[in-house]
Amino acid sequence: MSRIEVLKTYKIFIGGKFPRTESGRYYPLKHNNKIIANMCLSSVKDFRNAVVSAKAAQGSWAGKTTYNRSQILYRMAEVLEGRKAQFIAELETQGIAPKNAVQEVELSIDRLIYYAGWCDKYVQIHSSVNPVSGSFFNFSVPEPMGVVAVVAPENSGLLGLVTQICSIIAGGNTCVVLASEKLPLCAVSFSEVIATSDVPGGVVNIITGKQNELINNFASHMNVNAILYCGSDKKVIKNVQDLAIENIKRVFIRENSDYFDAKHDNLYYIFDFQETKTTWHPIEQIGGSGSGY
């Protein structure tokens, strides 16, 4: 007799924990008219809770050594590699062709490796000692913006999502991510990868639900420092820009794109979510100055 399969309850991911939405609401995810899962229809309250977690986690995440952050991102790749089959199956369940599904998972792993490698290097690329005219030591370094709200790409459930998350957290930010509405399964499973890769709770928070219910709060929340909208809807872009003005949130738009393209291995995705801090200090000028060897 064939065994009865255990079906998975897809939850959301806030502060390192896996609740269902506080609202108790759901939306049925269908493929070929068959219900695949009852996804959480997350509420504004879920989003706010996630921001609280992301903000609480940000200081210590940014304070970790870059070597440590690098290893944690690498660990995510290791864990994803070990669970490849699950992700491929999930992509196929959502209607992705088998060949593409394999490619998408493998590329997601490789992209994690790519950004893992940048963690302890991007600061050097973006930093400068500034040769000011005067007796001062002056240098500029990148610093994470803080909490980033992300509307993940609608058409790339795993690879597009992973690209945004790993480039943002590589730079010491924490994030709250709204998964693709149509392709949300891998986002939830990816949060399980995150939860088992030594990523501290709250660094990445992933919720599922409807963009039009949540995006106003993503753009207007006063404790969110930057927003990334992945999509090409002109009306949505303008709305996000308008709402972000209140606390001069940094706004980034990444239009619909083929995430298989190598251009998404992109150092500048890290710099997008960095501020530049410049520090001055006087240099003492006494005894021996001017003498050479």
Binding site: I125, S128, N130, P131, V132, S133, G134, F136, N138, S140, N225, K234, I237, K238, Q241, D242, I245, E246, N247, I248, R250, L267, Y268, E275, T276, K277, T278, T279, W280, H281, P282
Partner: protein
Amino acid sequence: MKKKHTIDFSSDWNLVPAPESTATIKLKEKYDLYINGKFVAPKSGVYFDTINPANEEVLCQVARANAEDIDFAVKSARKAFNTTWSKLSGKERGKYMYRIARIIQERAREFAIVESLDGGKPIRESRDIDIPLAAAHFFYYAGWADKLAYAFPNRKPKALGVAGQIIPWNFPLLMAAWKIAPAIAAGNTVVIKSSKSTPLTLHLLAEVIHEAGLPAGVVNIISGNGETGSFIVEHPDVDKIAFTGSTEIGKVIMKAITGTHKKASMELGGKAANIIFEDAPLDQAVEGIVNGIFFNQGHVCCAGSRLYVQESVFDKVLQKLKDRLQSLTIGDPLDKNTDIGAINSKDQLKDINKYIEIGLQEGAHIYQPDCKLPSKGFWCKPTLFTNVSQSNRITQEEIFGPVLAIQTFRTIDEVIEKANNSPYGLSAGVWTDKGSKIFNMTTKLKAGVIWANTFNKFDPASPFGGYKESGFGREGGVHGLAEYLKFD
């Protein structure tokens, strides 16, 4: 027992007046717009007075541009971008810019005097800071024009097109240099608008640019009021808006360009914390406090307007600060002895006085030195407020005048919390002799520029700009180029 103070301010500090001569300065009666390489009368036909805030006398009249003028300026800039400037090699662009830098240096004294006449700032500052730094900015960015490929590894930088730039009244020529230099070095053309109360040095800059032989339309210089600025912001053929000014106006501008292709950089307000630890070199720190808040009469977005003194040295620092205030020379901006000049405008003085009134109503204790102010013009004594709290409006809001809100703290955690508890994040200052403490503080303070054991220092090579509601984008250094480029 406390030592009694023996400084006799009445005899030791009577300086003989040393006014800079204005004999060499010949202002025109009227200044026109500079569009498409020509000095042209405004289509509006309207001119407005610009006055000397130190004596309220009218200096001359300045053109007010209307929407038609702006349209003409943007079209000229677009044409220059398409036909000349973008065709020119970086090296040749740079050579034009070097010329501009040199001519500013040659006419530096004239610029300094006009800047002080029009804005009320002490000649010591316009002569030693504003004008030389403006020249230095053009010189610095001139050298970048043919080296852009080195600035952004693995990317192909391209100019944006036409940049619309709006600058404030506190550092007129310097802010124009901060805006124009990186823009044209990167290959853009420019329409820049001066502020209503200090337009004169931009008209002189137009003469410099004309003399340098810059191709027509590359830099167009406009004068007018806030409405004039809105015509630039709203013009559909502008590719970039660069604004320096208040957070309030910055938000209005941002609102006007949402949903458009316009790239923006915003350098907005600030309320910088200046933090004095007990192990700081206190005499130097007091100089830093004075320079932090009274530089340019406190009309500085990065002014150190919130002072935090560690409790153990508070009495000592406050006494030193009061003594230092008593020795400051307040008066004629053109006098080389003057430390604090005139408040820039009547409106600004009204605003500052409003905040002083608010401070008093909030229960803060005021201290102002005993000194005489000139009978005409706009003046404000340097002002200290103690007994203030974190929630007071004089602690929270940008006053943009010579008013310092002083608080104390005990622990490092406490002062970091207080310093960062502001919607602004432009700059901050830290004073301590302990290196590890400096680095702890500079890492934790949420601000774009941190001055450690110094304050209010600027340089073309040093990126400047804010966190949070102090705006975004950087001006200065290699970072400043990115604001005027796009990448594939």
